[in-house]
Structures are given as structure tokens and as C-alpha cells.
Assembly symmetry: C2
């Protein structure tokens, strides 16, 4: 294959040059353990401290509110399971949307087996929840609302600030899986009333295998991993210094260039949408207005998603079909509106893994 | 500082040249998501499949028995918490040693708060447990024995094969934290009767932030993280492809060169021991015979550990003192025999974080 058109940046992105450069010292000469007392280790410690500052600045948080994890999935699992554990004496009801990533939805299914009750808010034909339905779903025993900032497949951006406001007016904690959104649209955890936010490096040109959970100060979650006491005692394990540096550098870069990137990428997206909608039996999925700049998602009537992915691959074009997750999964998007509107497996979805 | 003598390879090692070379494609051109259907993603999938084979080969396991994690701490937490959950209907008693890494001991303390009972086997003056005491500690409701393969501070190698045999004769699962041992001494999970084994890349010249748990086939542990279904459905999250390649390559390299490395490193260790024992009031800690090739650990009477670490740092020599874990921790080694034999904080311990 001579040339590849990589059109699957919603699944994972290429590491940025700056991020790689920031990582290299920690993969070569600066290999000290950040928990060591000697100066060689303290260099790595300083790097991690700076990374906390950079990530915090990018989302309007404080450095001590950022906890690095092994990825977005770990952050989602930690946030949701921990709140369930922390608040179980107050209630066992959780509200979510029907279009969450499996890292959230499978974790909630696990909790359902443990006796928790989950309300899944349906979405309309552009993937939006109804705030009215959200308000109606709130009960005395609701302990958590977990709704994604933006959908990984159809690109719909959800009204997170309003959801957070409703949560706080009702004394309920609010977690958002912002893995698909951070680095692509402006995020401010304080303005958006967010208590817990998950993000992942590889979605904004950082490396794979590193993510973070923002935990609002004052909210005392149980430890995610027990051991040496790293990450303020909540996420033990020798720090992935190179990964942390890569994530922080890529996020800083994305944040600095956010306005121009959004403008440029949106224009490319719209050109792609205009072109593809000229194909008969094609339809845009997701919200046409409140939409991630980099996500164009379509359904093609009468066409199997996987066949089209493989055919496009044959032409050097990388796209994703159907729902998120592992290659073995051939389920269509779990946005139920799409399931009804069209035959199986809309194609061109940017999936997130 | 003109020249650094890095003598803290028990805390963390420098990434090997081969491991870095194996990682670089996945940090640059080969950035595809291994769960993608298109060929660009399938390259990453093949790399991960090969990494499973390499790691399995190194410890006498099958590729499908290897599950990559975010590090050794995650592997320890997963193994211990999962067995506790899986076997709780059969009993809530666990046996361990008194010199485990905090990733094990703190996880056990957590379980104690949840109603589990833990027997901590004392060690003798060279850090060895008594197999007779182990046998006596076994009860009807014992569900797990978790004892480390080699100690991270004093370097004592424990009789893992015998411990595993005793465990299996009594129908008890055996987990070993082999983070300090893998890549440094021969390990064969089948011959050693091991059901669960934790390892970490950065201990054998692989990268930080990546580890693995060996789970014996047939033992069905609960998922560690829920989501996209990666790692045979047990450890979801987009794979850290570069990290996995780095770990597998470094382990393969360490395994190929194991006999010559053991010989060379042991000779250096013994020379260091001979020299340092000439210092008045010094004492070797740990087992003089069953000892990790690369670990030399001493106690110096009347001397504060941290002062010596900082003084040696001033001379460009990196060593560790006291017990494992984060820099804030100034506890002495939790090998209680050392605590009695000497004043606080033996110095020169290779600590593991």
C-alpha cells in the first residue's frame, strides 16, 4: 500500500512530535525512579509535578486534583466503582445515558449485578439526552450521574455544564467520561460543575497506556490501587514518567492551539460531510451542530459496515464502523436511534476503543 | 555532577537499547489501534500477539495466560482482590509473609478491613520464611497463599516451588509477586506450581507503566477493568502497544542472557559486599546464598539511612535506604529481623517502588 489516509483519529491519534520529544529523555538518560531520594530521581519527580500542572491548567483544575492512570478505561472504572462504594449508605441509584462508552456502561452493568440500580436515559435522533428526562429520573437515592462529554462514535457533544448544574442542585455527584472531548473542545471542570472527569492521552496525540482522572478537591475517593502510595496515595505503582510527560505535553499543545485547530478541523469535517452526503442512501448521524470538530459519522443504507471498512482499507483509507471496542465486536452503534433509523452497522463511525 | 554511579537497579532500571528500538515504531509510524479492523491496526495487533508469546516463553507459560497491566502494582492488586472475591464462599483466610512489597501488604490490609483474615509469616534473620510454619498456618478456610519470589530490599530468594507445592497439596491458590525476580533468576510457573504471578517491565530494563499478570489457564478471575474487552476481556483499555513491545523485548533479552548475566552480576555484587563489609559496624542483610544476583543490602549501625543516601548522592552515587515506596516514606525495612538487629534504617537497600 503506497499511501494511507488515516481517518480514524477518534479511535487513536498519532503521537505528536513535541510529545515524543518530551518523552525521550525519560526513555533514555533520565530513567531514575521519581520516588527516589537522590537527585537523579528528583528530576523525574519534578517532571511529574510539572505534568500535573499542565493537565490541570488545560481543564481548569488544580494540580493536586489530577491523578494519572493507565488510561481512560481505568479512570472510568475507578470513578464509577469508587463513588458507588463511597455513597452506598446514601443510595444505590445511578443515572447515565444509553450511548456511553463500554468503559462506563460495562462498569454500570457490573454494579447492577451488585445490587445498584441504573437509569439509562434514551437519546433523540441526533444523540442528545433530554434534560427534562434527566430531572425526572433523579430520585432520593441517586448518588451519581455519569454522562459522557462527547460521544465517541457519532460525535455529539452533550450539555455537560447543564447536567452538572442539575446534579449539584440535587446534591448528586457528576462524573463525565471526557475521553473523546479533552484536547478537542474547551473543558473547564469548575464552570461545568464536574466532580470527576476521565481523559486519555492517545486521544489527543499523547501516548497510549496513560490517562488521568480529575477528582474535585474535597471529594475523598477510595484508592484505586494499593501499594507504594504514588499519586497522593490514591493510585500506587511506579509512575509511567515518559507516558505522563507525553500526555501532558500533547494536552498542553492541543490546548494552546485549540481555537485554530477547531476551526481548521471543523472545516475539513464539513467538507467531508458535504461530499459523502452526495452518495445515495447516505445519512449523517449525530448532532449536526453540537458536534466534535473531528468527527464525521454516517449511515449507509443496505451496506454492511465491516465490508465497507475492509474495502476502504484496500484503498488505503482507515475508518471504523459500528460500535466501540474490540475488533471481535461487530455490534452496531449502541445509539438506539441509529438502530431504528437504518439497517445494521452504520459506516464511517469513528470508534473509540 | 560529572559522573553518576547508578546503584539502584532494584528500584528501576534503564531501558535497554533493544527495548527502546522495539518501542519506537509504535511511538511513531505504527500508531494504529490494535483493535481496528484495517491492516494498519492489525500490525499493532500482531505485535501484541507476539509480545504475549515472548513473555509466556520467558516464564514457562502459554501466551493466553499472560495479561498485560499498567504495572506490577496493578497485577498484585488484581490477583489478590480477585481471588478474595472469587473464593469468598469457600473461606476468607489468606497467608502471606511479613516482608511483602506494599502492593501486596497494603492490599491485604484493605481485605482485612473487609472481613478477611491474614496470617503474616515471620522471617528469620536472613529473610526466609519457615515452610513448617507455613504448613501450620494452613486452615480449612485458607483460600490464597501470596508470597513474593524475591524480596525487593534485602534480595532474599524465597522457596517458591516448595511453597507452591504445599499450596496445591492443600487445594489453595498460590500467587507470587515476582516483580523483583523475573528477568533476574529462572522462573517457570508450571514447575514452580504458580497459579498467579506478577511482573513489571521497568525491573528488567523494560519501560515503566507496563506489567503483566500470569493467570493459570482454567482459573477464571473476575475482570480487572471493564470496557472494550481487551486482553481476552479481562483487562479493558486501549493497549499500551509501545510499552508492551518494550516489556516483551527486554524480558526476552534478559532471558536469553540470563546465565551469563547472573554470573557477571553476582560477581560484581560479591565484590561490592566484600568491600563494604570491611567498613566497621556494617552488616550484610538478607540471605547470603539464596540471593538475587544484583542485590547487595547492608545495615550500618549508628547511621541514619537518609543521611547516607543524600551524602552518596552528593558523590554521584544513587542508592536507596529503608523500606519500599514513595519518597515521603521514611519507614525502615519491614523485615522485622532487621529492625531488631540494628538501629533504624539500614542503608544501601535496593528499594522497589
Amino acid at each position: 500500500m503506497s499511501k494511507i489516509v488515516y481517518a480514524d483519529n477518534a479511535a487513536t491519534t498519532a503521537l505528536s512530535k513535541q510529545a515524543l520529544e518530551a518523552m525521550m529523555p525519560y526513555l533514555t538518560s533520565e530513567h531514575g525512579n521519581p520516588s527516589s531520594l537522590y537527585s537523579f530521581g528528583r528530576n523525574a519527580r519534578r517532571a511529574i509535578d510539572n505534568a500535573h500542572i499542565k493537565v490541570a491548567d488545560a481543564i481548569g483544575a488544580k494540580p493536586e486534583e489530577i491523578y494519572f492512570t493507565g488510561g481512560g478505561t481505568e479512570a472510568d472504572n475507578w470513578a464509577i466503582k469508587s463513588v458507588a462504594e463511597l455513597k452506598k449508605s446514601q443510595g444505590k441509584h445511578i443515572i447515565t445515558s444509553s450511548i456511553e462508552h463500554h468503559a462506563v456502561s460495562h462498569t454500570l452493568q457490573y454494579l447492577e449485578k451488585k445490587g445498584y440500580e441504573v437509569t439509562y436515559l434514551e437519546v433523540n435522533d441526533v444523540g442528545q439526552i433530554s434534560l427534562k428526562e434527566l430531572c425526572s429520573a433523579i430520585r432520593e437515592d441517586t448518588i451519581l450521574i455519569t454522562i459522557m462529554t462527547a460521544n465517541n462514535e457519532i460525535g455529539t457533544i452533550l450539555p455537560v455544564a447543564e447536567i452538572g448544574k442539575i446534579a449539584h442542585e440535587n446534591g448528586i455527584l457528576f462524573h463525565t467520561d471526557a475521553v473523546q472531548a479533552v484536547g478537542h473542545i474547551p473543558i473547564d471542570v469548575k464552570q461545568m460543575n464536574i466532580d470527576l472527569l476521565s481523559l486519555a492521552g492517545h486521544k489527543f496525540r499523547g501516548p497510549k497506556g496513560i490517562g488521568a482522572l480529575y477528582i474535585r478537591k474535597g471529594l475523598r475517593l477510595p484508592s484505586n490501587m494499593l501499594g507504594g502510595g504514588q499519586e497522593h496515595g490514591l493510585r500506587s505503582g511506579t509512575e509511567n514518567v515518559a507516558g505522563i510527560m507525553g500526555l501532558a505535553t500533547a494536552l498542553d499543545e492541543a490546548t494552546v492551539h485549540l481555537p485554530e485547530n477547531m476551526k481548521k478541523v471543523s472545516a475539513m469535517r464539513d467538507r467531508l460531510i458535504d461530499g459523502l452526503l452526495k452518495i445515495p442512501h447516505s445519512k449523517l448521524t449525530g448532532d449536526p451542530v453540537n458536534r466534535l470538530p473531528g468527527t464525521a459519522s454516517f449511515a449507509f443504507e443496505f451496506v454492511e459496515g465491516e465490508s465497507m471498512v475492509l474495502l476502504l482499507d484496500h484503498h488505503g483509507i482507515c475508518v471504523s464502523s459500528g460500535s466501540a471496542c474490540s475488533s471481535a465486536s461487530l455490534d452496531p452503534s449502541h445509539d438506539s436511534s441509529q438502530r431504528e433509523a437504518f439497517a445494521r452497522k452504520p459506516v464511517g463511525h469513528k470508534k473509540r476503543f
